[in-house]
């Protein structure tokens, strides 16, 4: 465990970073909004009486419209999707005792996308707001169990098989996603890109409100797995001998992580590499103890996706690129760097 003072400093830094990046996500874009207006609208939105646009003067009404209908849902979506992806990535890395595991590497993301796409194409989407997240979760769980089954032996899972199986399943399912989208006529190209790469443009409250309570509850539940995840780093036998119900913990972490990934993907599409990169960076700063790693990864993941989305919006403004492109451009090289580093150390 870190010294308490350092831990508090990191926590404070991350909290401040989250406030700043959230504010930046609201203030910047095609139109830059002054701090005062942003704060006024935010206060109005969360105050008990709400805010009545009709009472605002014309310029403020415009600010309100941009914030409430465009930037706020998008920022909230980025924050919670980033949080969910990073915290589940940290847990999955701990579970597989491998800093290179993550929901996207293991095929969980691809399974999740396939579930979501099938729900939309089949028309299930109109039945319930949670139809897409639900189908997404089932896809994620199916992929995770499949990878887990083919990679596991009696007495444990071998890491290299987990990664290989995950990559194979991941490509297979991504291929299926593309196939489904190509054969469904009503799909525009932008939707196609959304479900293969992930993005945050055009996110509305309808997209985000249903998954958010699940993300909050599941993240908290996952954080209660910190001690057993620490113990699993000793290997399954020793974790067992210390009183960890190894199989139950494995199933529980895998299911919760799949659900979190699915929720994030229902919000933002399969945004790549956050689950891999963010926990790894956090671990370098605060060490591998899951009691700090899980909450700090959650905060850092929210900041990272808010930041990536801001870059995606501003880099070629007034045009924007997909957020998933930004994370992939950062994450791909990072993954290669990781592989080389672990190869040098002779441990994959």
């Amino acid at each position: 465990m870190l010294p308490a003072r350092r831990r508090a400093a990191v926590a404070f830094g991350l909290a401040a970073g989250l406030v700043v990046s959230f504010w930046a996500a609201l203030a910047f874009g095609a139109v830059t909004l002054p701090v005062g207006s942003v704060v006024r609208v935010l206060v109005g939105v969360v105050s008990p009486g709400g805010i009545d646009p009709a009472e605002l003067d014309a310029p403020m009404r415009r600010v309100y419209a941009i914030l409430y209908h465009i930037r706020l849902p998008r920022a909230v979506a980025a924050m919670f999707a980033g949080l969910a992806l990073a915290v589940s990535g940290a847990a999955v890395q701990g579970l597989f005792r491998n800093p290179m595991a993550s929901p996207d590497i293991l095929g969980i993301s691809a399974g999740s996308s396939l579930g979501a796409v099938l729900a939309i194409v089949s028309g299930l989407v109109v039945l319930h707001p949670l139809a897409v997240p639900g189908a997404s979760f089932l896809g994620a769980l199916a992929a995770a169990s499949f990878v887990y089954t083919i990679a596991s032996r009696r007495g444990g899972t071998h890491l290299i098989y987990v990664i290989l199986a995950g990559l194979a399943v991941s490509s297979l399912l991504s291929g299926l996603v593309s196939a489904v989208l190509v054969f469904s006529e009503e799909y525009a190209l932008s939707q196609f890109i959304f479900w293969t790469m992930g993005g945050l443009e055009g996110r509305t409250w309808a997209n985000v409100t249903a998954p958010i309570p699940f993300i909050i509850v599941l993240s908290v539940v996952l954080m209660f797995h910190a001690n057993p995840l620490n113990l699993l780093s000793l290997g399954e036998e020793q974790a067992h001998s210390l009183g960890v119900r190894v199989e139950a913990i494995k199933v529980s972490v895998l299911v919760i992580s799949s659900m979190l990934t699915a929720m994030a993907i229902a919000i933002a599409g399969p945004i790549a590499f956050i689950g891999l990169m963010v926990p790894h960076l956090v671990r370098m700063v605060t060490g591998p103890n899951h009691r700090t790693l899980l909450p700090f990864s959650a905060l850092a993941g929210a900041i990272f996706l808010l930041g990536s989305d801001l870059v995606a919006r501003l880099l070629f403004a007034p045009h924007e690129i997909k957020t998933g492109i930004v994370t992939a451009v950062i994450g791909g090289p990072y993954f290669i760097f990781l592989i080389i580093r672990y190869q040098r150390r002779g441990s994959v």
Binding site: M1, G94, R97, N98, P99, R154, G155, F224, H225, N227, P228, N230, L231, S233, L234, G235, E236, E237, Q238, H240, S241, L242, G243, V244, R245, V246, R283, G287, P288, N289, R291, S347
Partner: protein, 424 residues
């Protein structure tokens, strides 16, 4: 140490079978651990020691049989209740993640702390105490993967101390330790047992097992071959058939405990006596081969300072030599003849004959069974000097009778003879 007859075992396994697919890794194992006991679990690689320990902590479920922990089947305990009674150490640490050593030690508090809570000041202090007990307090903040093999084992052992469960199972805890750390660790285990803990330790080092454990369990092929005090279990024949190697079982003069040391193959292990007539280095290779394959070797007559003679001296086999450049005399031949007569086979190596060693031909002629090596084998030509023609004629008669063999053929012939002698 408690009296075994009056106590009930704290941990026992009866008729334990464990099968994976077609492989029967445990085949009817009975083991008991009594309060205060330190039991050494020994046996060759693949004997089933680790599988047994994993069954005893309830990590593996036996295919048949039961494990009883303090009077109840181990499966009836909740995970944390079980962990408060029995702890386990393998050689595995957190290698992938750079946990500080103190965090690893603190993990021993999990049975008390549980899932939701962070270990507090008390747990941290207990971890620090355990770490200084094993002498690693200065490494508390170092990252675990950066420790040496020995330090890792000690840190993991400190984790066991924090767990404070009365039964301790250790799977080859000393595998990567030097003898100093090995002794320290086992002394700590023994001290714990004197305080009332009970322990089973899987060990490779039989001498350490004999020194520290009052009772040993020898496993082989998934079964218990023998169990009891060291002098009942560390018996030459049992160890040799289990470990498939020749051993010498003795006693340590100072501590009085049993010692087991491997005996290099060679010496009197096989039942074939071979005499080598060498000289000028012509007998070196064949002598080494014979020694390695376990033949009873003798040599002579060679000249002092010949590399043949030097090798025989180093191998401590009976041999006859004469001073350099001197002629082999009757008394030398008489001594060598006794060796030739006792041998099942005599090998005549390739070296030049002259007046000085002409008597070696006498030896070759009296051999019942003679193997003549060809000139290629020795590195020096078989020339004839002095009364050369007469010597050559005598050699040719021998060659006609016994044949001349290249080195490889000779080795093959000797191996065949060895096989016949061992089966007979």
């Amino acid at each position: 140490m408690s009296d075994r007859s009056s106590a009930t075992p704290v941990l026992s396994a009866s008729a334990l079978r464990y099968r994976i697919g077609d492989a029967l890794l445990l085949d009817g194992v009975d083991v008991e651990l009594y309060p205060g006991e330190l039991v050494g679990l020994i046996g060759p690689n693949g004997a089933g020691k680790s599988t047994l320990l994993r069954n005893l902590i309830g990590y593996l479920r036996p295919t048949e049989g039961t494990v009883t922990l303090e009077g109840r089947p181990i499966q009836t305990y909740s995970a944390r209740e079980r962990a408060k009674r029995i702890s386990y150490l393998s050689q595995y640490g957190p290698d992938q993640f750079p946990f500080p050593v103190i965090d690893v030690v603190e993990m021993g508090s999990y049975p008390v702390v549980g899932m939701g809570r962070a270990p507090g000041v008390r747990e941290r202090e207990a971890a620090m105490r355990a770490l200084s007990y094993v002498g690693l307090e200065r490494l508390a903040d170092r990252s675990f993967p950066s420790l040496s093999g020995g330090e890792r084992q000690l840190a993991l052992f400190a984790r066991i101390l924090v767990q404070e469960s009365p039964i301790i199972l250790l799977d080859e805890p000393t595998a990567s330790l030097d003898i100093g750390h090995e002794a320290t660790l086992l002394q700590m285990v023994r001290d714990l047992c004197e305080e009332g803990y009970s322990a089973i330790v899987a060990l490779h080092n039989l001498n350490i097992a004999a020194e520290y454990c009052r009772r040993l369990v020898l496993m082989d092929g998934g079964r218990v071959r023998a169990a009891g005090p060291p002098d009942h279990v560390l018996v030459g024949e049992l160890i040799e058939t289990s470990y498939h190697t020749s051993v010498h079982v003795g006693r340590n003069d100072s501590t009085g405990s049993i010692t087991v040391s491997p005996v290099p193959t060679g010496g009197a292990a096989r039942d074939l006596r071979v005499h080598v007539i060498g000289g000028a280095g012509g007998g070196v290779n064949i002598s080494r081969f014979l020694h390695r394959t376990g033949c009873t070797l003798s040599g002579g007559v060679a000249h002092e300072l010949d590399s043949d003679a030097r090798l025989w001296k180093a191998l401590a086999v009976p041999y006859v030599q004469v001073p350099a450049f001197s002629e082999i005399g009757a008394p030398d031949i008489e001594r060598a003849a006794a060796l030739v007569d006792a041998a099942d086979l005599t090998v005549l190596c390739a070296f030049p004959f002259g007046t000085g060693n002409a008597a070696n031909l006498d030896l070759a002629e009296r051999a019942g069974r003679l193997l003549i090596l060809d000139e290629e084998s020795g590195g020096c030509p078989r020339d004839f000097f002095g009364d050369g023609e007469a010597l050559r004629a005598r050699f040719d008669r021998l060659a006609a009778r016994h044949g001349v063999h290249p080195y490889r053929d000779a080795c093959r012939l000797i191996e065949e003879m060895l096989k016949r002698s061992t089966t007979a």
